[in-house]
Each structure stands twice: as C-alpha cells, then as structure tokens.
C-alpha cells in the first residue's frame, strides 16, 4: 500500500553556507550572518526610534528577557526554577539596602548586589542540589513567597512600605543602553558558554549526572557555579530595576517575575536561548498593550504557558528555525 508522508530536507543554501561553509555569494553570506546580526542591530537601534513610553517598555522587556535567558541556562543544567523572582528580589533589595544604608554610588551598588545576590541565592539553594526531580522547583517556588511574607510580617527592609528615595540613573539613554548591552552580552555569552568544555559538562549533568560523577567531576560544585551565574544575572536585573524605579518593595518577589520569564522561555522555545529572547520580546510588549485588562494578564501568561508546553513544546523559535533551514515535501512510501 502506498502512503504519503511529509519529509524534511535541509535547504541547499543551508548546506552550502552553514555546514560546508563555502560562501560564494551575497545570498549565502546573508543567510549565515543575518540571524545573529539582526537582533544586535535591532536592539541597539530600538532606543533611538522608540518614544519615551516604549523605551520604558523596552527596559522591562530586556529585563524579562535576561531573566528568561538565565532560566533557560538553569534548565540546561537540569534545574527547573519556578522562582526567578528569588534572584531578582534578592538583587533588588541588596542594591536598595546598600544605597540607603551606606549611600554607595549607583556604579558600586549594582556590581555588589550582582555578586552578593548570586552568592546568597546559591547558598540558599545548596541543600536542594543533592536531589533530582522536582525538589528544586518546589523550593524555588517557596523561597520568594517566604521572603515576601517575612518582609511583610517583620517590617525589615522597609516592610510593606519598601525602600524609597534611591538614586536613579542620570538619564534614560544610560538605562536603555546599559540593559540592552547586558542583554546582548548575556545572550551571546550563554550561547558561547554552552559550547565550551565547561558548558558541555553542565549539559552532561542534565543528561546523565552519574556518568559525570564517574568521570571524576564534582557535580555539586558545578551546579553551585551554575546557580551562582544564574543568581548573579537575576540579581543584576533586580538591582538595575531598583535604580530605574528608585524604589524597592515587596512586589520584587511577586509571581510575575517568576512566571513571565518561564512563560517567555517556554513560548519561545527552551534550550537555544534565542527562543527565550524571542519569547520575552513577544510576551512583554503584548502584555503592555493589554495593560487595560490588569490582573487577567497573569491568567493569559499561565494559559499560554500550559498551551505551549502541552501542544507546542518546541516553541516558536524552533519552528521558525526549521522553516529557515529546511523545506518540506510530500513523499510516497511503500509499506
């Protein structure tokens, strides 16, 4: 009986320009160079062309994109965090505290908060590293909520009022370009990192931790380092936003900061970093456009999260990538 099935074949231009790497025409050159160069040019140009309100949106989007990238990085190592808000919130409060308590300048508080935030997050999560499965998700889900409750109940760090009157950046261009450049650094840095030997070990921990252990590598130490990297990046976002808003309060531990990066990474597609970036740049501006519906936004994120993870687990990016690299045709097969 003859049946039809769809087969996918790499495009000729991909084989020539990507695999064999024999660039003989502008077309092939552009085929290779546009995907990585386009986001750089776009991101650097966006602050120049956007009006003030959308510049602010760009800042938020970039922050969520960085959080999504760091979430994606943790997943590469096999740790699924349900609480990026933990990293974000720790960094935000640290920056606020340093500013208010010691009066440090902005260019000191942010690096300090970044490093210490990563350290604190890694230490807090150390006990969970010895376990596989869902424990990590559970504890990361619990921690930010607990921080929020503690601050609310004890009134430490300003309690429900938060810390106000913090220093701000000198102007919006500094804010925009700082976060965009960090976003690009984090994005390309992660993409580079996972292809190095170090990244290979991290990926191997996800695939088969025992094999890595029997290779004589201390996986707890590696996981702790991965946590530190993620924690630092999350803390940087928090510290940055603290100085943008000139305020830090309990909302930094809100579920938004956990769920939006997660939703971005899942909608965009996990595992490639480009997916997380794409996802954040779809979801956050979309939510800004839907600002009118208020609380329903979280519902929409949650539903899109479920729909994508159940129905389209590969995400948007991988779909686009496939279309870019391969074509499909119907082939008849005998069976």
């Amino acid at each position: 009986m003859k049946q039809k099935r769809r087969e996918r074949i790499d495009r000729g231009i991909k084989v020539r320009s990507d695999d064999i790497f024999a660039l003989t025409s502008y077309r092939e050159f552009l085929y290779v160079s546009v995907p990585p160069v386009a986001p750089i040019i776009l991101l650097l140009a966006l602050p120049l062309i956007l009006p003030l309100y959308w510049q602010k949106v760009l800042i938020t989007t970039a922050v969520f994109a960085i959080l999504a990238l760091s979430w994606d990085f943790l997943v590469t190592v096999g740790m699924v965090s349900l609480g990026q808000a933990l990293f974000f919130g720790v960094g935000a409060y640290l920056a606020g505290y340093f500013d208010l308590r010691f009066g440090l300048p902005i260019w000191t508080t942010i690096p300090l908060a970044t490093l210490m935030g990563g350290l604190i997050s890694a230490i807090l999560l150390l006990p969970v590293l010895r376990l596989r499965g869902v424990y990590f998700s559970m504890v990361t889900l619990v921690l930010p909520l607990m921080f929020e409750r503690t601050i609310e109940a004890t009134g430490w760090l300003g309690g429900t009022e938060g810390l106000t009157g913090l220093k701000s950046f000198s102007n919006i261009w500094v804010e925009c370009y700082l976060i965009v450049i960090v976003l690009l650094l984090v994005f390309f840095g992660f993409r580079r990192l996972v292809t190095t030997d170090y990244g290979l070990v991290l990926k191997a921990i996800n695939n088969n931790d025992r094999a890595v252990m029997s290779g004589g590598i201390n996986i707890y130490w590696m996981k702790a380092q991965a946590l530190f990297i993620t924690g630092s990046i999350g803390a940087f976002c928090g510290a940055f936003m603290t100085h943008v808003y000139m305020f830090v309060g309990m909302p930094v531990f809100a579920l938004d900061y956990s769920i939006l990066p997660l939703a971005s990474a899942v909608v965009g597609g996990m595992g490639s970093f480009a997916g997380s970036l794409l996802g954040a740049f779809i979801l956050v501006p979309l939510s800004e456009a839907l600002r009118g519906i208020g609380g329903l936004r979280t519902v929409i994120y949650a539903i899109s999260l479920v729909v994508f993870i159940v129905a389209i687990p590969e995400g948007i990016f991988h779909y686009v990538q496939r279309k870019y690299q391969q074509f499909e045709r119907w082939a008849t097969v005998d069976n």
Partner: protein, 290 residues
C-alpha cells in the same frame, strides 16, 4: 497557655495533614505532579459558596457536588493536560503549575475577595476541655482528618486500586506488565487527590474567609509535609504534619506569629540537608538522590 498550645497544636497538625493528604496521594504515592492542588482547594471553596449563595442549594448537597466536581476537574486536568506530558517531569510541573496559577489569578481578577466569602460551619457551638474552648468545626476537622488518614493508609495497602497507585510510582513498566493500566490509574489518582483537596477545603475554610492567597499557602504547606514525611508514605505525612504543626504553634506562642510562615521553609531546607528522601521515604531513595 501550655494547654492551649498543645490542643491547638494538635488541631493545627490535623489541618496540615488534611491539606497534605490529597497532594500526597497524587504526588507522593502515585508519582504524578499536581501543582494545581492549591487552586483546586480554593476552587472547591468558591464552588460551595456559589452553590449556596447564588444557586440556593442546601449545604450538604453543595458540599457533595463540590467534591464530585473537583474530582472531575482533576480527571479532566489529567486527561487533557497531564497525559500529554506524562513522564517529562519538567513539563508536568510547569503545566500543572500553570493551570493552578490561571485558576487562582482568574478568581482574583473576578473579584472573589472580601469578608462575605465564608462557608458555613457544620454545627455551631463549642466544647470546653480544661480551660480551652474548642468550636465544633475544629472537632469535625479532627474527627474527619483522622478517619481520612486511617482510610488512606488502609486504602493504599489493602485495596487493588490503592496498591496500583503505589505500583505505578515504583515501576510503571512492571505495573503495566501486571495488567495495571497506568494511564487510568494515574488519572484516578489525580481525581482522588483533587477530591481530597475539596474535602479539606470544605472542612477547613469555614474557619475564616476564602482568599486567593491561601491557595499558594496550601500548596506550600502540602509540599512541605510531603517532602519532610518522605514521598509515598502515609505515616510520613502524619508524622511530618505533627512536627510542622507543633513547630508552627510553638514559634507562634514564643516568638510571635511573624515567624509561623517561615517554619515550613526552614523545615524543608533542614530535612533536605540532613535526610534528602524525607523521614519515611523509601520508595525512590536511590533514584532521587544523586
């Protein structure tokens, strides 16, 4: 003071056990994630409220209907969401958490907050033990909580369905080869767990108003009890609830209610540090540790 702490600590422990039973049945005993558990708890509460105050049904009927509806919702959750991502732990967690989040935030958006959202108590009145007043609702909680815990213990040991629940968690392929339809059993387990969440909600919620935030607290407490007790152990759930229950009461009595919230978290971290598979967890001791 001591007497009050002891008695209310006991009641608090039973409440924790009641909250954790359903989560433990689904996640601990059958190995299926259900992070929408807190949302189901709150949903059952609002369902009863709507049926009583908007549809005018009697309380008993509303309660029974709520339990059935929540179980059916659990079954639907399994059939349409979990079944498709079964076995991929990450996806299971994210998908169920997303569903729970959507439900809870939807209730918040619809404005289901305020003092009028309360459920009626079973019977009014109170009894006195020593110098301590205890209202009837808390006695109901203790009675039903204990019988449910015993029921669950017997159910997972002496009935075919209960044994199948434990079977699919231990080794799904072997369970399949012994004629257990693991998809059906896992679906049943989610449904039973959801039903238990509804029962817990109907018993516990009359103590105060129904609030969306409690959905997150319920999930956290249930997780804490499950992790500390060890997965797959009913005895562990009971012991862990008593430990956390009394620890919460004692911190409440001696250092103020501020610290009550942090007890479960500290307990989770300590237990993961000292004995990662929980106090009574044997089932997957080797696979979960690295």
């Amino acid at each position: 003071m001591l007497e009050v702490t002891i008695i209310y600590g006991f009641i608090n422990s039973i409440i924790l056990a009641l909250i954790a039973l359903g989560f433990s049945l689904t996640f601990g005993i059958s190995g299926v994630s259900n992070f929408a558990y807190g949302a189901m708890y709150i949903m059952a509460g609002y369902a009863v409220w709507i049926m009583i105050n908007m549809l005018g049904l009697p309380f008993i009927l509303a309660a029974i209907l709520a339990v059935i509806l929540t179980s059916l919702f659990g079954l639907a959750l399994y059939r349409f969401v979990l079944l498709r991502v079964r076995g991929m732990v990450i996806s299971e967690v994210i998908a169920t958490f997303g569903v729970g989040l959507a439900i809870l935030e939807l209730f918040r958006y619809l404005g289901f907050t305020g003092f009028e959202y309360t459920l009626p108590v079973f019977t009014d009145g109170s009894v006195v033990i020593g110098d301590t007043y205890i209202d009837h609702q808390r006695l109901w909680i203790v009675g039903i909580g204990i019988s449910l815990a015993i029921g669950l213990y017997l159910f997972t040991r002496y009935t075919k369905t209960g044994l199948a629940f434990r079977g699919i968690a231990q080794d799904e392929k072997t369970a399949l080869s012994l004629g257990i339809n693991s998809d059906r059993v896992a679906g049943l387990s989610v449904a039973f767990g959801s039903g238990l969440a509804a029962i817990a909600a109907i018993l516990i919620l009359p103590r105060g108003t129904i609030s969306v935030n409690e959905g997150y607290d319920v999930l956290i407490n249930a997780m804490a009890v499950c992790i500390i007790g060890g997965l797959g152990s009913t005895v562990g759930v009971i012991v862990a609830s008593f430990m956390i229950g009394y620890a919460q009461m004692i911190t409440d009595a001696f250092s103020g209610p501020h610290w009550k919230m942090i007890v479960s978290l500290v307990a989770i971290l300590i237990i993961l540090l000292v004995k990662p598979s929980g106090l009574f967890g044997k089932q997957k001791e080797l696979e979960e540790r690295i």
